[in-house]
Every structure is written in C-alpha cells, then in structure tokens.
Amino acid sequence: MSIAISIVELACQQAGTAGAGRITRVEVEVGALAGVLADSLRFCYEAASRDTMAADSELVIIELPGDGECASCHGRRDMTEALALCPDCGGIMRPRGGRELRLRAIEVDD
C-alpha cells in the first residue's frame, strides 16, 4: 500500500508542477525482482488514488525481466524468482537487474 501511495504522490506532484488538472494514466516499471506483485499493486492503487488527481486513472504496470549472477560459477542468467538456482552448476543466483520500481510517465488532462 505504501508503494501505491508513493506512486500516487509522485504522480500528483509531477502533474501539479506541470499545471495539469487530472491524471488519466500512470505508467510504472516493476522489475521481476522488485518484491512487488502487480495484482497487489493494482488493488492498492485503486484505493490510494481515490479522491486525488489520479482518481479513476489507468495504472499501466510494465514488467521488466530480472537477471542474476551465480554465486559459484558467476554465469549471468534470467531470474524470475528472488530465490533461484543456477541451471548450470546449481549454485545460488544473486539478483543483479530487475529490482526497478520507477514511475516512467503519466498522462494528464489540463
């Protein structure tokens, strides 16, 4: 919920600075290893945006892939789960990319 609220606050701040009246769409990048579930975020966003400039806006979640490095053989691989084993040697994968949680853009009406 805090994350949904942070998204709404950031979006409203940006919209306010741009002199906009209403936010119609919010685009958020969520990495596979960010620890954020798209469904939960969607659910919380609807509540968090109520009675704000972002009320009734469309939340677009752009899911980015994760990648990790094997702690044993140092091979780089895609990672979709926070806990994963290297397909080559069975070592533990350490997350490298995919922890993004960014507000990419908003669309506004004046």
Binding site: M1, S2, I3, S6, I7, E9, L10, A11, Q14, A15, A18, A20, T24, R25, E27, V28, E29, G35, A38, R42, Y45, E46, D56, S57, E58, L59, V60, I61, I62, E63, L64, P65, A71, A82, L83, I92, R94, P95, L101, R102, L103, R104, A105, I106, E107, V108, D109, D110
Partner: protein, 249 residues
C-alpha cells in the same frame, strides 16, 4: 476505469507508450515523462538519516523479524546487560499501542514509540521525526525495533548501519529460503530462543546451512534472550562495533 497490466517487449501497450513519449496522449491530454524512482523520497530521507548518524557517530541498527521472534525481549535483555556501559536508545515501531515502548521505558533507556496505524513497516521519515524526540550522545547505539514483518521492511531503508534479522526455532529452519530478500538485506542474523531447542524438531545445522546459502556474508548469533545462553557474543559485538564515521584505528 480499471487498471491494466502491460508486459514489456512483446506487448502492444508497452510499445505504444514508448512510441508516443513526449507526444499528445490522445483526446487533448499530455504525456509527461517522469523517470523517477517510486521510493525516491524514502531513499533520500534514509540517506539524510545515514549522514546524520555518521556526523554524530551513532550506530543505528534496524531489528526485523516475524511478530513474536523476541525482538523486544532481546532489547530488554541487551539493555539490562549493557546499560551504563554504553549509551543506548530505542525507537519502537508497532501498528498500535505503546506497550513495547513502556517495556523499554522501565529499563530507563530513552525510547520513542512510533505507531504506524495501518502501516506494516517503519520508513525513513518516521525515523527522522523520532530522532527529533531523542537526544543521542556520540557513540550511542540506536536500536530500532521495526514492525514485526519479514517482507516490507526489506524495501524501506531507514538509514541504518545494518539490519539485524531475528528468527526463532518455532518458525522452522526454512525461514531464510522463504524470505530471501530480507535475509539478503540483513548483515546479522540472531537465532533467538535456543532454550526451546530440546522441545522442538528444529535442526539448527540445517538452518545455518540455509542462511549460508541465501547470504554467506551473514554474521550469525545463536542465543536465548530469556536464559542468557550465547548472549555474550552478541553483547560483545554490539559494544565493540564501530559507528559509521568513526576514525579507523
């Protein structure tokens, strides 16, 4: 209007958004590129807290665990053993009640209670506000007891020097595997309530193995805040750990 999920790459909506960056968004609307971290505010405040701690040579620790692992009891016992020898202060985080702060108050150590209401974790702004209510001398150990939760606190930096994750044998050996984000974010793990080991099927060696797998750099203390077994190593570490900003010897 509902909200939608678009996957990047193959998905039309993702491509569409990229193509129209900076252009009209349709029907008289505008598209504004933002490109900012969602948690930018917390990240910035946490850095501010971190600088404050370094300037005043305060060692701040963020104690995290599932509810009931023994954070408050460990704090009480730690204070009992170290009070007077080392400046200590506590920030207590709970959704509701002053109960934990009251327990700490009885030890005589300065304490502030933060109630998060519906919130499930402390954040950097809450710590910042709590610091205004505490007078900390240089070299203080500031022990921050987070809301009982192994998920969200991993995402909210408070500006601490280290996260201390506390588990207990009743939770099962596989806790580290279930919550890898938290066990990776932590630098110290305390396995508490070892006085209960004779009554449980908990395999301590297996737990250590899982901890090692998830985060080989974890420093592990096994102890009982209740009986005092194993406490000495933890107290020694806490008493001798260098606060950030301290001159190297």
């Amino acid at each position: 209007m509902g909200s939608g999920v678009a996957k990047t790459g193959q998905d039309h909506a993702g491509d569409h958004a990229a193509d129209h960056a900076g252009d009209q968004a349709g029907e008289g609307g505008r598209r504004l590129a933002v490109e900012q971290e969602v948690l930018a505010k917390n990240i910035a405040q946490a850095e501010h807290n971190r600088e404050h701690f370094a300037r005043h040579r305060i060692l701040a620790l963020n104690l995290v665990s599932s509810p009931g692992a023994g954070k408050t009891t460990l704090l009480e016992r730690t204070i009992l053993e170290l009070n007077g020898r080392l400046p200590l202060a506590v920030i207590e985080g709970d959704q509701q009640t002053l109960l934990d702060a009251q327990r700490i108050e009885r030890t005589g150590v300065p304490v502030v209670q933060v109630n998060t209401g519906a919130g499930c974790h402390l954040d950097a702004e809450m710590i910042h506000r709590a610091l205004h209510r505490l007078e900390l001398s240089a070299g203080s150990r500031l022990l921050i007891e987070n809301v009982g939760n192994l998920v969200c606190p991993a995402m909210f930096d408070l500006g601490e020097a280290a996260k201390v994750v506390i588990i207990s044998p009743t939770e099962g050996e596989d806790k580290p595997l279930k919550y890898p984000a938290m066990f990776t974010a932590a630098s110290i793990c305390v396995i508490n309530k070892i006085d209960l080991l004779p009554y449980l099927d908990f395999d301590l060696a297996l737990c250590r193995q899982y901890l090692q797998q998830v985060n080989p750099d974890l420093q592990i203390f096994t102890l009982s805040a209740k009986s005092g077994e194993g406490l000495a190593d933890w107290l020694e570490w806490l008493a001798t750990a260098q606060p950030p900003g301290a001159a190297a010897v």
